[in-house]
């Protein structure tokens, strides 16, 4: 595995970046703040702590995926460090895949650290929880895989800022796809119908990855709601990485 070097390098770069520490600290603060929210009703406190912590993990890791992801490829082109890599016996798809895996390794670590912090919050507050509380983080990882691939895809042809903005927009729409479908059904304008339907069927649907609410409110989750999003996440990731590779393969540096 020659692209081990690329995975390692991508990982080290993010680890030595100040933005990571800043975002992690913000995550800790958000989680700790749940201690100070006064519940409106008795028994709500447990839910608030869980919900806020899971949301913080979600928020911070998505932010890292979008901000660091957007510059994964382009920065190497812009700074010409790509010359160092592609002049080695490394194939271009290995480079893309190495970048993706390096970033996923980082996100895995981030979720791990934040989950440990979550565990500490639960221990300190004495809130009971079982292992099901980890399920949203599992699906989050697959959602992050789509986001990372989107960021990589955009950053093969646009600047880091543009790539991050595009990725963010798609993330945002991705969580509204149900609304899009509803819009297509209600709307009387055929143009709106067509556009809403088009967006619904072509853009990644990310809302299905979000099972925080169900877990926090202890609503039983069927097996389908776990493994379908996982398969969906894998397919989107493969597709996006494949297209990134096609664009990348044609490039001159």
């Amino acid at each position: 595995m020659r692209f081990k070097a690329i995975i390692l390098n991508t990982f080290i770069e993010s680890l030595r970046d100040k933005i990571l520490i800043v975002l992690l600290v913000v995550g800790f603060i958000l989680m700790a703040s749940s201690k100070f929210i006064k519940p409106l009703a008795l028994g709500e406190e447990i839910k608030i702590i869980k919900d806020l912590s899971l949301s913080s993990i979600n928020f911070i890791s998505v932010l890292i995926a979008i901000l660091i992801g957007g510059r994964l490829i382009y920065k190497e082109i812009e700074k010409r460090t790509i010359y160092l890599v592609l002049s080695k016996p490394i194939k271009r798809w290995e480079f893309i895949l190495g970048k993706y895996l390096g970033q996923m390794l980082l996100l895995f670590l981030v979720i791990g650290i934040l989950t440990i912090a979550f565990g500490i919050v639960l221990l300190l507050t004495g809130v009971p929880a079982n292992f099901l509380i980890l399920l949203p983080n599992l699906l989050l990882l697959f959602q992050l895989s789509i986001i990372t691939s989107l960021a990589i895809f955009f950053s093969t042809f646009t600047t880091p800022l543009t790539a991050s903005i595009f990725t963010f927009i798609l993330y945002f729409i991705g969580h509204l796809t149900r609304d899009l479908k509803a819009l297509a059904q209600i709307s009387k304008s055929p143009i709106v119908k067509v556009i809403a339907n088009f967006l619904y069927y072509t853009l990644p649907n990310l809302a299905n990855f979000d099972i925080k609410g169900k877990v926090v409110h202890e609503i039983p989750i069927s097996f389908f709601l776990i493994y379908l999003p996982i398969i969906y996440g894998i397919l989107w990731t493969l597709g996006l990485l494949y297209f990134s590779f096609l664009i990348f393969e044609k490039k001159d540096f």
């Binding site: 020659r2 390692l8 700074k79 010409r80 002049s87 016996p89 001159d252």
Partner: protein, 310 residues
């Protein structure tokens, strides 16, 4: 045996918003580099040197023409196991330390190297002291050296160096030159590009001159610019400050770099005088190098002749 072979190599870049503007960066270039030789690809800025080297290492794709490296095409990525490439004005990962960069580079070749080997290479390029420094704090010359260390770590057969002496002071250039000579002795095939002839002088078995993407001349240096010596370059150290004005008076130029000095002069008489002065002052002589007419002058006359011919 030809270790690198290019035939009718052409690269046309398309630029502008609609990709309508064409730039012919390399035009029907044929090159044969033999095993074990040092080949200098020379030419003014924009001549197409970088583009040619990028096509050889697979960073850019030729518009037309053929490249064979040890009989294989550049798109066969495995062939690059045999190549160490130093890009022009190399940029490295700023967040890495010197040692880490060399280690990662070896990994990119798919090779595990011992730390002993890494130290060896760092020693060779004179970067052992800076091994734990972040690359963002390296000077231009240090980047060039660490870049060379990366080229050498896995001992590839072929070294492709794009302006390896670019941005260095005269003494830095000389040190890189010495290193390249040492590498040739170790049996490497080396292609490097430069727009300065004096770099090529002591080094190259052959040079090719590129102008506007076309090879206009090829041969040994003396075949191309003649034997006439133009100036001498004397590098020395250990001469007390008080004696320097006297040396300065004789020399055409006197430049300091670190603890060494470089004096240049144009006549043989002055050269002898300077050498004896340095000796009398108790100085240490490091090198004496005769230089021929500069490539810039050669280009100048060459271009002028071409224009006059029209």
């Amino acid at each position: 045996m030809a270790i690198i072979f290019c035939e009718n190599l052409t690269k046309i870049y398309r630029s502008g918003f609609w990709k309508l503007k064409k730039v012919v960066a390399v035009n029907r270039l044929s090159l044969t580099i033999n095993e074990g030789e040092i080949y200098g690809l020379l030419g003014p800025n924009g001549a197409g040197k970088t583009t040619t080297l990028k096509m050889v290492v697979g960073l850019a794709k030729p518009t037309s023409g053929k490249i064979l490296i040890m009989g294989k095409e550049p798109k066969d990525s495995e062939i690059r196991k045999n190549i160490g490439f130093l890009p022009e004005q190399p940029y490295f990962y700023e967040y890495l330390k010197g040692y880490e960069l060399v280690y990662l580079t070896a990994q990119m070749y798919g090779k595990e190297v011992s730390s002993k080997r890494i130290y060896e290479v760092l020693e060779l390029v004179g970067m052992i002291e800076a091994k734990d420094m972040f690359l963002k704090n390296y000077s231009r010359g240090m980047l060039q050296r660490i870049g060379l260390a990366c080229c050498l770590i896995t001992e590839p057969k072929i070294l492709i160096l794009d302006e390896p002496m670019g941005g260095l002071d005269p003494i830095g250039r000389k040190e890189i030159r010495d290193l390249i000579i040492q590498l040739k002795k170790a049996g490497k095939t080396i292609i490097f590009s430069s727009h300065i002839l004096s770099d090529a002088e002591m080094l190259c078995d052959r040079i090719g001159i590129l102008i506007k993407g076309e090879k206009v001349k090829e041969g040994t240096i003396s075949e191309i610019v003649g034997e006439e010596i133009y100036e001498y370059e004397i590098i020395f150290s250990n001469v007390g400050e008080v004696y320097l004005p006297e040396i300065k008076r004789l020399a055409k130029d006197l430049i300091r770099s670190g603890d060494k000095w470089m004096a240049t002069c144009e006549e043989e008489g002055k050269r002898e005088h300077l050498l004896s002065l340095i000796q009398n002052f108790g100085g240490r002589l490091h090198s004496l190098i005769p230089r021929r007419k500069s490539l810039e002058e050669y280009f100048f006359t060459f271009m002028k002749e071409k224009r006059d011919a029209l």
